[in-house]
Symmetry: C2
Subunit: 347 residues, 2 copies
C-alpha cells in the first residue's frame, strides 16, 4: 500500500511528521511506499539526521505550504504547488491510495474535494471523528467539512458513518442517532425534522433522535449532524475534558496530602488518560471521496501521525470508500423510490 503524507502543514514542523511516518513504516508491513511531500531539503535533512535509508520512502518536492492562516480555496489558488495539493495529486494520479495531512483542515477538505471529487452518489464528503466515551467510542460526523447541510446530506452521512463504524470499529449493527434537542421524532430544527423520515427509510440500525445527554452513555455508535453543530460539539467536549483534567491536576497538587493520594491512585488516572488520548486514532477521515484522506490534528506529534497513517491503511484494506460508494448509491435509490413520502425539499 502506498501512502502520501503531507509533511509540511503541521504545527510542529516537518520533523515530527517524518518521524511519525518512519514509525508507521516500522509498524505496518502492509505499507510498500510512503511519499513524504513537501520541502525536499528540509525533509531530506530530517531523514539524514536519523540515518534513514529506507527504500520505501520517496520524497516529493513541493515548493509551498498552505498555512493555518490561509483561507482554504483562495490559498489553494495562490499556492498551486503547496504540499497538500501535491499530495492529493499523488492519489489522483494513482500513485498513492491514501493521504494523511496534519495541515489546514479547510485546505485538505477543499483540495481533496476539488481534485478527487466525491464518490458517485455522495453529495458531500464528511469528517468522521471517533470520540471516546467511558464505556464505548462513537463516530461523530460531520465534524466540520460542511457547515450548511440539506437533509439528504445528513441521510448520506448516516450511511457513511454506519459503514465506517462497521468496517473500522468492528461494530456489527452500529446504532445510528440523529443529534437533536429531544428524542421524539417531532423535536428538532427544520433540518433534523426532514432528515428523520429519510433515515427511517434506510437499511440502518437507526435509533432515532438522540440528545446531547446520550453522547457519553453508550447509547449510540454513530452521531449524525451538520458540520456546524458537529464541529462545535467536538471542540466543546475536547475543551471541557482538557479543562476538567487540568483542573484536577491543579487541585491534586495543591498540598502534600493530596499529592500522596494522587500518587497512590495514579493507576486510575492513567487508565482514563490512555483511553481519551487523542493520539490513539491520530486523525479523522474525510469520508465520501474517491480516495482515502485522513486529516490529522495540526498539533499532532509522532505517535499521532503514525496512528493516522495506520487508520488510513485500515480504511484502504477494508475498502471503506468502495463500501460507502455502493451503500450510499443504494440508499439514494431507496430515498428516490420513497420520495412521495417525503417533503420534496429534503432530497
Amino acid at each position: 500500500m502506498r501512502i502520501a503524507v503531507d509533511a509540511m502543514g503541521g504545527d510542529h514542523g516537518c520533523d515530527v511528521v517524518v518521524l511519525g511516518a518512519l514509525q508507521a513504516l516500522g509498524r505496518d508491513a502492509a505499507i510498500s511506499r510512503i511519499f513524504l511531500v513537501g520541502n525536499q531539503d528540509q525533509i531530506q535533512a530530517v531523514l539524514d539526521r536519523h540515518h534513514c535509508r529506507d527504500a520505501r520512502i520517496s520524497v516529493i518536492h513541493a515548493t509551498e505550504v498552505l498555512t493555518m492562516e490561509d483561507k482554504p480555496v483562495e490559498g489553494l489558488r495562490r499556492k498551486r504547488d503547496c504540499s497538500i495539493a501535491r499530495a492529493v495529486e499523488l492519489i489522483k494520479e494513482g500513485q498513492a491510495e491514501a493521504l494523511v495531512s496534519p495541515g489546514n483542515t479547510g485546505g485538505v477538505v477543499a483540495a481533496s474535494t476539488i481534485k478527487l471529487r466525491p464518490l458517485s452518489g455522495v453529495d458531500r464528503p464528511a469528517i468522521a471523528t471517533i470520540i471516546p466515551a467511558p464505556e464505548n467510542e462513537f463516530v461523530l460526523l460531520d465534524a466540520g467539512a460542511n457547515v450548511e447541510c440539506r437533509p439528504v446530506h445528513l441521510a448520506q452521512y448516516a450511511v457513511m458513518g454506519s459503514v465506517y463504524a462497521r468496517d473500522i470499529l468492528g461494530i456489527q449493527k452500529p446504532r445510528v442517532g440523529l443529534l437533536s434537542v429531544g428524542t421524539e421524532a417531532v423535536k428538532g430544527n427544520e433540518l433534523t425534522l426532514e432528515t428523520y423520515p429519510l433515515c427511517r427509510m434506510l437499511p440502518l440500525n437507526f435509533i432515532g433522535n438522540i440528545e446531547g445527554h446520550d453522547l457519553f452513555t453508550n447509547r449510540v455508535d454513530v452521531v449524525v449532524c451538520d458540520g456546524f453543530v458537529g464541529n462545535i460539539v467536538l471542540k466543546s467536549c475536547e475543551s471541557l475534558a482538557i479543562g476538567i483534567f487540568s483542573w484536577l491536576r491543579k487541585e491534586l497538587t495543591r498540598n502534600p496530602l493530596r499529592m500522596t493520594g494522587a500518587f497512590l491512585a495514579k493507576g486510575a488516572f492513567q487508565t482514563i488518560k490512555r483511553r481519551v488520548d487523542p493520539d490513539t486514532h491520530g486523525g479523522a477521515p474525510l469520508l465520501g471521496l474517491n480516495g482515502t484522506v485522513v486529516i490529522a490534528h495540526g498539533s499532532s506529534r509522532e505517535k499521532a501521525i503514525m496512528n493516522a497513517i495506520h487508520l488510513a491503511t485500515e480504511a484502504v484494506q477494508n475498502r471503506v470508500d468502495e463500501n460507502i460508494g455502493r451503500e450510499v448509491t443504494a440508499a439514494n435509490k431507496l430515498l428516490v423510490a420513497n420520495k412521495d413520502h417525503t417533503a420534496s425539499s429534503a432530497l
Copy 2:
C-alpha cells in the same frame, strides 16, 4: 417580593418543590409571599407533615399537571388548568413578580411566552444557562427556547446575555462571543455570518466568533447561539462531565490502593464537585419576557429549588427585565439606523 412556584411539574413530585420553597423563605428575607401552585391536597399534606404555618405561603389550586410527556402547546390547550399555566397567570395578574418551575421546559416557554408576551423590542425569549468552567463561569444563550433563529434574534440574545452577566454575575464588561466554527469573521454558517456584523454595531464588549475550544478556557462570559446548538452543547457537556466523574469514581474504587489514594486526595474532588454542582444556580431564566421566569431542572431537589427561587429574586431586585427591555430597544434602533450596512434579511 412575591414568587409563584409551580409545585407539580418536577420529576420528584411536589414534596421536594415545597420543601425547597420553605428553605428559600428561610433564606431570603426579601420574599414576602410564595404561591405554591398545584394540587391543593398534596401540597397541604406536605406543609402539614412539616408543621408549616408560615403566613407567607399561599396555596393556589390547579387541577392538572403538564407532564414531561405532554407536547407543550397542545398540552397547554388540553390542560387549561395546569399548574404551569396557573402560575404564569399569577404574574400576569400582577400577584407575583416571578415564577419558578421545574416542569416541562417547552411547556414553561410556551405558557409564559403566550401569556406574558415578550418585552417590547424583544422578538424571542431565550433560556440563559450559567455554565461553570475551571476559572470562571459563563452564560450560554439560547439553551433551547428557540431552535430556529434569525440573525436579529441572536443579536438581541447578545444584548440580553450581556445584561444578565452584568446584573447577575456582576461582570462589568462581559465578553460576548458568537459561537461558531472558527474565530475569523468569515467562518461560520449563514446565521452566524449575518449575525456577526450586527453584533459589531452594538455597544457590547463583542469579542467576535468563539469556537468550542474557547468555552472552558476563561475567554468568554456570554456565549451566543441558536437554541438548537445551545441545547446540544449544554447537554453534551453535562453528559461528558457526569461521564468523566463517574468513570473516575469507578477507576478510583477498583482496588484498595486507589481507594486509599482517593481518600487522601478527597479535598481535590470535593472542591471541583462544589464548583460544578448544578444545584448551585438551580435554574435558568427565560429572558426577554414581561416578568421573571426561572426554569429549574426537572430533576431538581430541594436545594436546587431554593437556589432557583433565589435566582428569581436576584433578577427581580436587579431589574433585569427592565434593563433588557431598555437595552434591546436601544440596540434595535442602532441596527435599523445601520441597516444599509447589513443584508436586509438579517433584520
